[in-house]
């Protein structure tokens, strides 16, 4: 797996929330804020297909794109890549966030997750 560029990732995020979908539907339902031309989205989808992140199938008069990599898997891969690239450890990552300001509710959420990770398999 390879890390995706920003724009392609935005398209994947859209696909992850809608599920298999056509370019136009994605544009209208999820990607409108980017004000991309329809062709632009097609380009990103083609590139994602080339990279094996989505499958293309003809659906009536338009293409239907289906995610082949799910969000969980991509995030699992990407998060570790983030650590390797710059932080080394989860602790350093969170410490960096904290330096820049971490909200109390974010901290609490994180603590809740840790409690769960510790309480769970053990």
């Amino acid at each position: 797996m390879k890390r995706l560029p920003d724009t392609e990732l935005e398209v994947m995020k859209a696909l992850w929330t809608t599920g298999p979908d056509t370019p136009r539907a994605l544009l209208e339902a999820r990607l409108a804020p980017f004000s991309w031309a329809a062709n632009t989205i097609n380009t990103y989808l083609s590139r994602l297909a080339d990279k094996g992140f989505v499958a293309v199938r003809r659906e009536g008069k338009s293409n239907l794109y289906t995610p082949l990599v799910d969000q969980e898997a991509y995030q699992a891969f990407d998060s570790r890549a983030v650590l390797d690239r710059l932080y080394g450890s989860p602790r350093n990552f969170v410490a960096a966030l904290a330096r820049q300001g971490i909200r109390r509710d974010e901290l609490e959420d994180l603590q809740a997750l840790l409690d769960q990770l510790n309480g769970g398999p053990q």
Copy 2:
């Protein structure tokens, strides 16, 4: 501030550990594992200078590069950018790591940091 490409980030990491330094010294002391040509490092340093990440000063017969952005600041910025790009919250980021496998010591380190951020185990 902008996120740096991989290679430029490696050079910044080298500069952060050595402090102000010359291209050759960086290459020999920190960047040898990459097997980059000397010119390659010069290019990365020039680009970093263009982007305002380092300052250049003539030091005898070679250039001395000084980091203008410190590691703490860059990490603070970058870590938040990582969340915005894909995870939304620290919790989601750590959850993604956990899915892919997080080591027990990493978890403990992180917990220790949280305790500290919360002002100790209160």
